[in-house]
């Protein structure tokens, strides 16, 4: 009998802890970046690099073009080595969403998965080799009723320059 009651108690505790782990405001917002595959670029040419990010469930972050000046946009900063330059950064359009805290004002946000595309260029005199591109993604996250201070996550991937 003791064994049966113990099993039931364990099941109750397990499900109870699942519920309690989801108290609103208890979770910290997260944005993660998926690893970037092999990137190769020829000297005097350019290549496109897709960076995939994921916003933690229950959160959203402002898009690159939020709807008001007072909102902090999502911004990617890349610091390439001398052998590469960033020719362009393409951000996805934000999803227009209304929230409980602003039912009459739609905000432009990213939630779930989104991709930023960077166009990297290698000059004609770029030396062949593998180079790290480092940077950071700055964002400001909110949930359904409150917001968190802006944060940054590191961004890094490797680019191989090959001769023409």
């Amino acid at each position: 009998m003791t064994k049966g009651v113990g099993t039931i108690a364990a099941v109750v505790l397990f499900f109870g802890s699942l519920g309690l782990a989801q108290v609103p405001g208890d979770k910290q917002p997260s944005v993660t970046m998926a690893p970037v595959g092999n990137v190769q670029v020829r000297a005097s040419a350019s290549t496109s690099v897709e960076m995939d990010f994921r916003v933690g469930s229950e959160f959203h972050i402002n898009s690159h073009h939020p709807k008001a000046d007072y909102l902090i946009p999502t911004v990617l900063k890349l610091n390439p080595p001398a052998q590469l330059t960033v020719a362009d950064l393409k951000y996805p359009a934000g999803e227009e969403m209304a929230f409980a805290f602003s039912p009459n004002e739609k905000l432009s946000v990213y939630s779930g998965d989104f991709t930023i595309n960077a166009v990297l260029k290698a000059p004609a005199n770029a030396a062949a080799g593998s180079y790290p591109v480092k940077g950071e993604l700055r964002f400001q996250a909110c949930d359904h009723s409150a917001c968190y201070p802006p944060r940054s996550i590191p961004v890094q991937f490797q680019v191989t320059v090959v001769k023409k």
Binding site: M1, V5, Y148
Partner: protein, 205 residues
């Protein structure tokens, strides 16, 4: 037989408990965050010495005898923007009864930009420039808006993390206005808090 009956009763009890917890959490998700009271309720509000937008210094202890609504906010926080006109109205309505609204701006922005934002919002209450110290003292305030309701003796009566309705805010204001100023009681509470560990956001839940 007796054993089966006991297992049945425990099982039914567990299912009812889980359903009740699920309903409660679902309601909390739909209507906003849970109020974080717990450890901070009844605690002496930590004193602070912060700069105002016009360069003056303000201490919480300057307002002993008043009921203080201490609101942590930021210019980049849309839910904070929703509350601000309510605080303006409530300051007008209850100011004569002893309510003092203090807005603590947790921006990294330059003070003139905060002042411009506050002016656009028609803010009629004092805006103070937040620091890491005050954030730490009040339990590492990261979730904005967060509001502390401090009674006339400097005791935290309630804490609300996230956006709440105007009605809920007004109810909390009535609670702190209902307190009577008792300097002796405040001294006792302050002494007690010195020995207590600083409250944290998690503790408060």
């Amino acid at each position: 037989m007796k054993r089966n009956a006991l297992v049945f009763v425990v099982l039914v009890g567990a299912i009812i408990g889980m359903l009740a917890a699920g309903k409660y959490l679902d309601r909390a998700r739909k209507h906003g965050p849970l109020k974080m009271v717990g450890d901070v309720k009844g605690v002496q509000a930590p004193d602070f010495d912060l700069a105002t937008l016009d360069g003056r210094r303000v201490k919480l202890s300057d307002f002993r005898g008043k009921a203080v609504l201490l609101n942590f906010w930021a210019t980049w926080c849309p839910p904070c923007k929703i509350e601000m006109p309510w605080f303006v109205d409530l300051q007008k309505q209850y100011g004569k009864d002893g309510l003092v609204v203090l807005g603590v701006a947790m921006d990294d922005t330059e003070p003139p930009k905060i002042a411009e934002f506050a002016q656009e919002m028609g803010v009629n209450y004092q805006v103070l420039l937040g620091t890491d110290q005050i954030s730490d003292d009040y339990g590492n305030v990261q979730y904005l808006p967060t509001t502390f309701y401090v009674d006339r003796n400097g005791i935290i009566v309630d804490k609300a993390a996230g956006l709440f309705s105007r009605e809920e805010i007004e109810n909390d204001i009535k609670k702190i206005l209902a307190s009577s100023h008792n300097p002796g009681a405040a001294q006792t509470s302050r002494a007690a808090v010195v020995r207590a560990p600083a409250p944290t956001t998690k503790d408060a839940q």
